[in-house]
C-alpha cells in the first residue's frame, strides 16, 4: 500500500506501537510480584489498531475503550505515569486507585473512561458524538471494542442511532476472534461484523488490523467523514492477541487456541511488519530502533519506579467520589 505522508508521522506510529508493546511487556513481567492488584488484559499483538487510528485524533477528540484498553490510552496520549500508578492502585493514579487497569481515564486528552462490561462503552461514545453534534463542534469520537461486543444489544442499538442522527463517531472493532475462550464463529453466524454496520446505513469495512498503514488509511477517511458531518463509519480490524484473555497466562494449545493459528498471527506481528517496511524505505535504521527503544525503556523505568513509590489511598477516603460536587 502506498500512502503519502511525512516520515515523522510514520515514525510516530512506530514509536507508539513500540511504546505499547514494551510497556505491556513490562506489566507482564512485573505482574508476578503481585503489586499490580488489578485484572490486566494485554493488547500485545494488537498494537497497530490503536496506533493507526489515534494518530489522526486531536487532543480534544474523544475515545472510549474496554477492559483491554492500555493500547488505546497510550496511543491517544494518556498520561503514562498516571496509567502505571493506576495499575499499582495508587492515589496518584489516573483514577485515584478507584479504577485499575480496566478503567483508565484522562479527560485532558479526551479519554473519558473505559468499561469492563462488554459493549458497555459503545453507547457512551455515541453520546459524546451526539454532544459534538448538538454543540456544533467538530470533535470526533472513536469507540474501540472487540468482536464480543458485536454480540451485545448496545452495539446494534448504538449503530442504529448514530446512523440515524449522522453522528461523528467511528466504531473500531478490534476483532481478535475470541471472547475469552469462545471463538467468534461459536457466537455469530458469520465472520463479517462490518456488514452489520452497512445494514445500519453506514460504511463498514473489514481490514487487516495488523497492517498499521491500512488502519491509518481507513481511519483517516472515517475521521474526515466525521469532521465533515458525513456521519459514522465502522472499521473491523482483524487482529490477534498473543497473551491469554486475562493476566499473563498463555492459552495456546491445551484445548484453547490452536498453535498453528497463534504461529500464523505471530508471524504477522504488526510491529515487525511495519519496522521492515520503514527500514526498506530508509526511514528506520537499526540505530534509530535502538535509540527509540532506549528512550522508551528509560521512560518505563522511571514511571514504574515512581508508581511503586507512590502513596496508596487511605481508608478514610473510601467514600470520596461517590457523588460529584
Amino acid at each position: 500500500m502506498s500512502i503519502v505522508m511525512d516520515d515523522s508521522k510514520l515514525l510516530e506510529m512506530y514509536r507508539t506501537m513500540q511504546l505499547i508493546r514494551l510497556i505491556e511487556q513490562r506489566i507482564n513481567d512485573e505482574y508476578k510480584y503481585d503489586e499490580i492488584k488489578t485484572p490486566i488484559h494485554l493488547s500485545i499483538g494488537q498494537e497497530a489498531v490503536a496506533a493507526g487510528v489515534c494518530i489522526h485524533l486531536r487532543k480534544d477528540d474523544y475515545i472510549f475503550g474496554t477492559h483491554r484498553s492500555h493500547s488505546q490510552y497510550i496511543a491517544k496520549g494518556g498520561d503514562i505515569q498516571k496509567m502505571i500508578s493506576e495499575l499499582y492502585l495508587r492515589k496518584t493514579g489516573c483514577a485515584s486507585g478507584r479504577g485499575g487497569s480496566m478503567h483508565l481515564v484522562d479527560p485532558e486528552v479526551g479519554i473519558f473512561g473505559s468499561s469492563a462490561i462488554v459493549g458497555g462503552s459503545i453507547p457512551l461514545g455515541t453520546g459524546t458524538a451526539l454532544a459534538s453534534k448538538l454543540q456544533k463542534n467538530d470533535r470526533v469520537t472513536v469507540v474501540f471494542f472487540g468482536d464480543g461486543a458485536a454480540d451485545e444489544g448496545t452495539f446494534h442499538e448504538s449503530l442504529n442511532f448514530a446512523a440515524l442522527k449522522k453522528l461523528p463517531v467511528v466504531y473500531v472493532c478490534e476483532n481478535n476472534f475470541y471472547a475469552i475462550n469462545s471463538h467468534q464463529l461459536s457466537r455469530q453466524v458469520g465472520d463479517n461484523i462490518y456488514k452489520w454496520a452497512q445494514s445500519y446505513g453506514m460504511p463498514g469495512y473489514q481490514i487487516d488490523g495488523n497492517d498499521v498503514l491500512e488502519v491509518f488509511k481507513y481511519a483517516e477517511e472515517a475521521i474526515s467523514r466525521c469532521r465533515n458531518g458525513e456521519g459514522p463509519t465502522m472499521i473491523e480490524c482483524l487482529t490477534y492477541r498473543w497473551k491469554g484473555h486475562i493476566g499473563t497466562v498463555d492459552d495456546v494449545g491445551e484445548g484453547y487456541r490452536p498453535k498453528e493459528e497463534y504461529d500464523y498471527w505471530v508471524s504477522r506481528c504488526p510491529i515487525k511488519r511495519f519496522s521492515e517496511y520503514l527500514k526498506n524505505k530508509g526511514i528506520l535504521t537499526d540505530e534509530l530502533i535502538k535509540k527509540i527503544d532506549q528512550e522508551i525503556y528509560d521512560l518505563i523505568d522511571e514511571v514504574f519506579r515512581v508508581a511503586q513509590n507512590s502513596p496508596k489511598p487511605s481508608p478514610d477516603e473510601l467514600l470520596d467520589f461517590v457523588y460529584a460536587d
Binding site: 478503567h103 479527560p107 473519558f112 453507547p123 453520546g127 448538538l134 444489544g153 448496545t154 448504538s158
Partner: protein
C-alpha cells in the same frame, strides 16, 4: 385517548397546600412542563430525549410544544432502545451537556439497568471524580386501570441499592418543578420518579425558577400520635387518611421524604421521637421497597423511640393484576393507611 389518561381524568384534582403561598395554582403536569420550558430557555446545555417526547401527546402533556419552541436538536424522539439511549445520554452528559431522558413507563427503565447502574451511576467513583454525569432520567409509573404487570410497576426500591444514583420522588406540583430543576442542575445522575396519578394534583407554584435541596424531606401535616411517611402518590392517600384519623381523634404527622436517596434521616428520627409510632407507605411492592429502607433506618436510629413495631403499607409481592377486581385489592389506599394507623395507636 390512552387508557391511563382516561383513568387519570376521572380522578379528583387533589389540592396540596402549604408548599408555597400565592395565588398561582398549577397541576403537577403543568409544573413539570414549566420546569422543562424554563430550563431549556435558561441553559443551552439542557435537552430532552426519549420515546415520543416530541409527539402530539408530549408525554402526558409535559413536553408538549417544546420541540416547536426549542427545535428538534433539543427535544427529540428516539429509537426504542432504552439501554443504549441511557448510555448515549450519559455520554452526552460527560461531554458537558445536561440531558433529560424520559421513560414514559417505569417498566421500560428495567431495560436500561446496564447503562444506568453499571455505567452512569458508577462513572464518577470509578474514575476518581474525573468525569461527571449530570443526567436526569425521568420515569413515570403509569398506574391506570388494567395496565397490568408490565405497564404499572414502581421499582424505585430496587434502585435504592445503587451507589452513585440520586433518586427524587416529588409528590406535589411545587416539588415537581423544584426538584426537576434541582435534578437538572445537579452534577450526578438523578432518577426522577413520577407517578401518573399525581399529574392532576394541584398546588401553588411560583412562576420563577427555584430549586429544592435534594436530600431534604418535608412535614406535610403536623401531628402527635403517629408518623406516616408517604412516598410519591401515597402522599395523597396519606393526607386523606390523616384527615379521617383526625376525625377519629388521632393526630397523624405526615412526612414526605421528597428525595428517596440520599434519604433525610433527621426528619424521620425527629418525628418518631415525637410520636413513637411509624407507618410507611410506598407505591411499590413491599419486599425490598423504599419503605423497607426507611423502616431499617428507623430501626437503626430510632428503635429506642418506638412504642410499637413499624408498619409498612405497600403493594403485595405480586405482579400487578389486570382484573379490575384484583387491581382494587392490590393497591393500598387511604382506608388501608387509616386502618393500620388506628391499630398502631389504639391496640
Amino acid at each position: 385517548m390512552p387508557w391511563t389518561t382516561v383513568q387519570v381524568e376521572k380522578l379528583d384534582s387533589f389540592f396540596i397546600s402549604g408548599d408555597f403561598t400565592g395565588d398561582r395554582v398549577l397541576t403537577y403536569r403543568e409544573a413539570l412542563h414549566e420546569a422543562f420550558d424554563q430550563s431549556l430557555a435558561r441553559d443551552p446545555r439542557v435537552f430532552i430525549m426519549g420515546e415520543g417526547v416530541d409527539d402530539v401527546a408530549g408525554v402526558f402533556g409535559t413536553t408538549k410544544g417544546l420541540k416547536e419552541k426549542y427545535g428538534a436538536d433539543r427535544v427529540f424522539d428516539t429509537p426504542i432502545a432504552e439501554n443504549s439511549l441511557t448510555g448515549i445520554a450519559a455520554g452526552a452528559a460527560m461531554a458537558g451537556l445536561r440531558p433529560i431522558l424520559i421513560h414514559a413507563r417505569m417498566d421500560f427503565l428495567l431495560l436500561s439497568f446496564d447503562q444506568l447502574v453499571n455505567h452512569a451511576s458508577k462513572w464518577c467513583y470509578m474514575f476518581g471524580g474525573k468525569v461527571k454525569i449530570p443526567l436526569v432520567v425521568r420515569t413515570i409509573s403509569a398506574r391506570g386501570w388494567g395496565s397490568g404487570a408490565q405497564h404499572s410497576q414502581c421499582i424505585q426500591g430496587m434502585l435504592m441499592n445503587v451507589p452513585g444514583l440520586k433518586i427524587v420522588a416529588p409528590a406535589t406540583p411545587y416539588d415537581a418543578k423544584g426538584l426537576m430543576i434541582s435534578a437538572i442542575i445537579d452534577s450526578n445522575p438523578v432518577l426522577f420518579v413520577e407517578h401518573r396519578w399525581l399529574h392532576k394534583t394541584t398546588g401553588h407554584v411560583p412562576e420563577e425558577l427555584y430549586s429544592i435541596p435534594i436530600g431534604k424531606g418535608v412535614i406535610r401535616r403536623k401531628g402527635e400520635d403517629i408518623t406516616i411517611v408517604a412516598i410519591s402518590y401515597m402522599l395523597v392517600e396519606a393526607l386523606k387518611a390523616a384527615e379521617k384519623l383526625q376525625e377519629a381523634g388521632i393526630s397523624a404527622e405526615v412526612i414526605d421524604p421528597r428525595t428517596l436517596k440520599p434519604l433525610d434521616e433527621q426528619i424521620l428520627v425527629e418525628s418518631v421521637a415525637k410520636t413513637g409510632r411509624l407507618l410507611i407507605t410506598d407505591t411499590g411492592c413491599k419486599t425490598g421497597s423504599v419503605a423497607s429502607e426507611i423502616a431499617a433506618v428507623a430501626a437503626e436510629k430510632a428503635f429506642h423511640l418506638l412504642k410499637k413495631p413499624i408498619k409498612r403499607v405497600c403493594c403485595p409481592d405480586t405482579p400487578t393484576p389486570t382484573s379490575d377486581v384484583l387491581e382494587k385489592a392490590f393497591y393500598p389506599n387511604a382506608d388501608d393507611i387509616f386502618n393500620e394507623a388506628v391499630k398502631l395507636v389504639r391496640e
